[in-house]
Symmetry: C2
């Protein structure tokens, strides 16, 4: 795979939430080139059927792979739950999914015995997190609660105040009642709400640790780059190129919310 070292890492998500993963990757892997595809013409995936999500995930993967990649990162939790096995089977580059990354991170402290997971209805419905977590450790219990309203709240920029606080509280209460000791944020949108979620857990009397799947994903990427000897050797700083399937007027504002910095050049493409 030596020839591939200087190819970019491809990252895709149903929309712009995966930019939280890109943001985390850029912080610790500043030399890597990244191609990001946000399928925001068809966002959200979380409310769609598994058959539709798998088809969309393959559209995204095909688009990025055709551009030449050394590794593919499925940042969308729903697509990761549904499509990673078939992508791994049929692509000849490493394919990493955010579900596996999050599951590993939730278990990194052996004291964690009761794992809470919030995600979209689609992600929770697949049961992918409980399955992945319990495949890694048979000694833990997993408690899930879908928290779908957090996605539109983040996209609208309602990330502080009473409405997001009450929504977060409603979603967390059953998990706190189940005495979770770790809370996995199983959707790439949720890191934007992390401080509010942490505060609300405390307000509900829980000491659960919050695991951010965007950061967890980055740890898996670093390991895979090392394991496959794919770290970039070129000396120039890594570049980010973004592709989207729709370009609404609010794009720059929403993208900046996820990436933390302006998103730079963006190309609108048709992948369907």
């Amino acid at each position: 795979m030596t020839d591939n070292k200087n190819l970019p890492i491809g990252v895709f998500d149903s929309g712009l939430g995966g930019l939280t993963v890109v943001h985390a990757m850029q912080a610790v892997l500043p030399d890597e080139d990244i191609l990001y595809l946000g399928d925001n013409a068809r966002v959200p995936y979380g409310t769609r059927s598994p058959q539709t999500v798998e088809r969309y995930a393959w559209n995204c993967a095909d688009f990025l792979v055709q551009r030449g990649l050394k590794m593919l990162v499925v940042a969308c939790n729903t697509a990761s739950a549904v499509a990673v096995p078939s992508l791994q089977q049929r692509l000849d580059i490493p394919v990493l999914g955010v579900i596996h990354a999050g599951a590993r991170a939730a278990l990194c402290d052996p004291a964690h015995r009761r794992i809470g997971v919030i995600g979209t209805a689609g992600t929770v419905g697949t049961g992918a997190y409980p399955r992945e977590i319990q495949a890694l450790s048979s000694e833990v219990s997993v408690f899930q609660n879908p928290a779908p309203l957090l996605v539109p709240l983040v996209e609208e920029g309602w990330i502080e105040g009473e409405v997001p606080r009450l929504a977060v509280q409603k979603y967390l209460r059953p998990l706190v009642d189940a005495r979770i000791d770790v809370l996995l944020l199983g959707c790439t949108h949720y890191p934007v709400l992390e401080s509010l979620i942490t505060a609300e857990l405390a307000a509900l009397g829980s000491c659960a640790q919050v695991v951010n799947s965007a950061e967890a994903m980055t740890i898996d990427v670093i390991e895979a780059l090392n394991r496959h000897e794919l770290n970039r050797t070129a000396a120039a700083p890594g570049k980010l190129q973004c592709f989207v399937t729709d370009l609404p007027g609010s794009f720059a504002e929403v993208a900046t919310r996820f990436l933390g910095t302006p998103v730079g050049s963006v190309v609108k493409v048709d992948i369907s």
Copy 2:
């Protein structure tokens, strides 16, 4: 057009919200056959660019027209704002849009001088309601506020309690401050929240009358059937046939929330 009287009326929406229009039509036009298409694989339209919305609207119209229609109803506010002119120009059956219907209904009381409109960011961004309302009457002022979170709240079934109440309050306050005397619900999802919206207007000290665009649409349909002499002559009760572009597990539950009764037979189709 005599031969066309017994053909169905086609209704489409970006998702299932248009079923509020179907529900209102069935109540007053029980003899009419209706073909409904919900493009829920690509919902919501309200956050997408006008170019994308126009393309999707034509996919929906082509699908329904191929089945034989006597009239096409664009129940989606965003698609109505963007695509009705080109649909009217290029189709040889009457095409009615919910924007025009809502604008007329908001003006039906000549005492109405300050018209408030809530809708998705997409609908509000097009300026279609102010344009349509002011084309009908130059003597009124129009005040808009996007209320995009109400769509996911309705789809999640969060239609009572603090979270929807605070969200509605936040969206209505600037309109109440503008002293509106009528509030037009410019999104087919919002009728599900009508009683909460009415209560919250009163709580904010407003006497504004609420105009429901699903009911307004039905009035336009009745008039167009009469004007074009297209009322159905066959004696059997009207049938509803539903098509969707995705069929998630939550479909029946969400559809029942809009239609008020179980949705019956539903066929999943690919229109893209």
